[in-house]
C-alpha cells in the first residue's frame, strides 16, 4: 500500500525530470556544436598560421580570438589583408576567404587572410529570424558544412548593450552596434570584446605592414550599396581601375566613396587610423534581406527567392534579381574577380607593391564547376551537419 502511494506521488515528477534532462542534453549538444568552428584546410602555399592573440595577446582565451593565415612569396612586394566573416550572416564574405586560404600560393608579396574576423558572431544566429544554423556545399567527396552566424557578437560573450553606443571614433550609434565589428574600428585595447577584436585587427595591419585592406561583405538586395566597392579616398584610383577590370570579367561593380562622417567602419578607419588603402566589397545576399521568404540552407546557397524576384520586377531593388536567383557561387565568383582585379590594380599603380598570387579560382571556373571544386574535401566526423 505504502509502495503504491510512493509510486503515485513520485512517478510523474520523475518522468518530467527525466524528460527535462533528456531535452537539456539534446539542446546542450546543439548549442555546443555551434561553438565548434569548421576546419579550414590551408593550401600548401601557407607560410605561417597565427592567431589574432599573437598580435594582440589580451584577446587570448576569449571568444574573439581567431585564425590568421599568412601566405608570403620569396620576392618582396605589397602586403594585403583580406578579412572575411566580419558579419557571419553574409556567407559569401566568409566563403571567399576560405576558398582563397585553401587555394592560393604567392611568388611575390604577402597576403594575410582572416576568414572568421568576428569568431564570436559565428557561434549564434540572429534571434527571431529562423535562420538555418548551417549550410552545405557539395564537393566531389561529399558535402562540406559551414556555420551561418549573426551580424553581431554573441551576447553570451558581450552583454549588456548600452542604450547608445559611442564608438572609438566618437560617433553615436544605436546600442546593439556595440557588437558590430564593422562599427568598432579602430577598436579599444581595453574596451569591450568586439572593440578588442577590432583593435587586434588594427594590430595585424600595423605589425604585418599592410598596404591594402580588403573587407569582404554582402548586403540585402534592397540596400543601395550593393555589387559595389566602397573605398577610402586614398584608394579612389585603385577602385576606379578595379571597376573597369571587373567589366572585363562581365561584372558591373558600383563605385561608392566611403563617407568621411560615417565612423567606425573598416573602409574608413583602416585608411584614417592606419593609413593603408582600404576597400570593402559587397554582393547581394537574399538570406539576410528583409523581404525574403522562409530562410533555409537552400536560400543561402542558391539565393532563389520568389519575393525578391517579385520585388525586382516592381523595381524595388538595387540589383537585378532573376528568377534563377543569385547563388552563392556567383557571389563568391564576383568577390574573387574583384580581389584578383585589386591585386592587378595595385601592381599597375604601385609597381613596387605588386603581388604575384597563384591559384585564385577564376570567376568563370567557379560559375562552371561550382564552389565545391575549389574546397578541400571534408574530413570525417567534423563535417557532420
Amino acid at each position: 500500500m505504502k509502495k503504491r502511494v510512493w509510486t503515485q506521488r513520485f512517478f510523474s515528477p520523475l518522468c518530467f525530470l527525466f524528460l527535462a534532462l533528456i531535452i537539456s542534453f539534446l539542446a546542450g549538444q546543439q548549442f555546443s556544436r555551434q561553438r565548434q568552428p569548421e576546419p579550414i584546410y590551408p593550401s600548401a602555399g601557407l607560410t605561417a598560421q597565427k592567431k589574432l592573440s599573437d598580435y594582440f595577446p589580451p584577446i587570448s582565451g576569449t571568444a574573439g580570438d581567431t585564425e590568421v593565415y599568412i601566405f608570403e612569396g620569396q620576392e618582396a612586394g605589397g602586403h594585403v589583408l583580406i578579412v572575411g566573416g566580419t558579419h557571419p550572416n553574409e556567407p559569401a564574405g566568409f566563403i571567399t576567404a576560405v576558398v582563397l586560404t585553401e587555394n592560393i600560393s604567392l611568388k611575390r608579396g604577402k597576403v594575410v587572410i582572416i576568414p572568421r574576423a568576428n569568431a564570436s558572431a559565428f557561434t549564434h544566429s540572429d534571434p527571431q529570424e529562423g535562420s538555418p544554423q548551417r549550410f552545405g556545399l557539395a564537393t566531389p567527396s561529399g558535402p562540406r558544412f559551414f556555420r551561418l552566424g549573426s551580424r553581431l557578437t554573441n551576447p553570451v560573450d558581450q552583454w549588456p548593450d548600452p542604450a547608445i553606443y559611442i564608438n572609438p571614433s566618437g560617433q553615436k550609434l544605436s546600442g546593439s552596434e556595440v557588437r558590430n565589428l564593422n562599427r568598432c574600428y579602430p577598436g579599444r585595447p581595453k574596451g569591450l570584446l568586439t572593440e578588442r577584436v577590432a583593435y587586434g585587427i588594427m594590430e595585424v595591419i600595423r605589425q604585418e605592414k599592410i598596404d591594402l585592406g580588403i573587407d569582404v561583405h554582402e548586403s540585402a538586395p534592397e540596400y543601395p550599396v550593393i555589387n559595389a566597392i566602397v573605398f577610402h579616398e586614398n584608394s579612389s584610383e585603385l577602385a576606379a581601375l578595379v571597376s573597369m577590370t571587373m567589366e572585363a570579367y562581365g561584372f558591373n561593380l558600383r563605385l561608392e566613396a566611403s563617407p568621411p562622417q560615417l565612423r567606425g567602419l573598416s573602409h574608413r578607419e583602416w585608411g584614417d587610423a592606419a593609413g593603408i588603402m582600404a576597400v570593402l566589397l559587397e554582393t547581394a545576399n537574399a538570406s539576410h534581406g528583409r523581404l525574403k521568404g522562409r530562410p533555409s540552407p537552400a536560400l543561402v546557397v542558391e539565393g532563389k527567392d520568389k519575393f525578391y524576384t517579385q520585388a525586382a520586377r516592381l523595381g524595388r531593388l538595387f540589383v537585378a534579381y532573376p528568377e534563377s536567383g543569385l547563388p552563392l557561387k556567383e557571389r563568391v565568383a564576383r568577390h574573387l574577380a574583384a580581389i584578383s582585379s585589386l591585386f592587378q590594380g595595385v601592381e599597375e599603380i604601385y609597381p613596387e607593391k605588386g603581388l604575384r598570387v597563384e591559384g585564385i579560382p577564376e570567376a568563370r571556373e567557379v560559375l562552371e564547376k561550382g564552389l565545391g571544386a575549389f574546397l578541400h574535401p571534408p574530413k570525417e566526423a567534423s563535417q557532420k551537419p
Partner: protein
C-alpha cells in the same frame, strides 16, 4: 564571479526540482520541468 553565478543557478534549479516534486498537478509539474531545462543548460554553462 563565475562560481557565484553557478551557485545562484544551482540554487534556483534545486528549487525548481522541489517544485516539481511538491506540486501535485501534472501541468504545473510540466511547467516546472520546462523552466528547469533552461536552468540546467545554464548550470552546465552551455552557451
Amino acid at each position: 564571479m563565475r562560481i557565484f553565478y553557478w551557485l545562484l543557478v544551482l540554487y534556483l534549479a534545486l528549487n525548481l526540482v522541489l517544485v516539481l516534486f511538491r506540486d501535485k498537478k501534472p501541468w504545473n509539474q510540466a511547467a516546472a520541468a520546462l523552466v528547469l531545462i533552461l536552468f540546467l543548460l545554464r548550470l552546465f554553462l552551455i552557451q
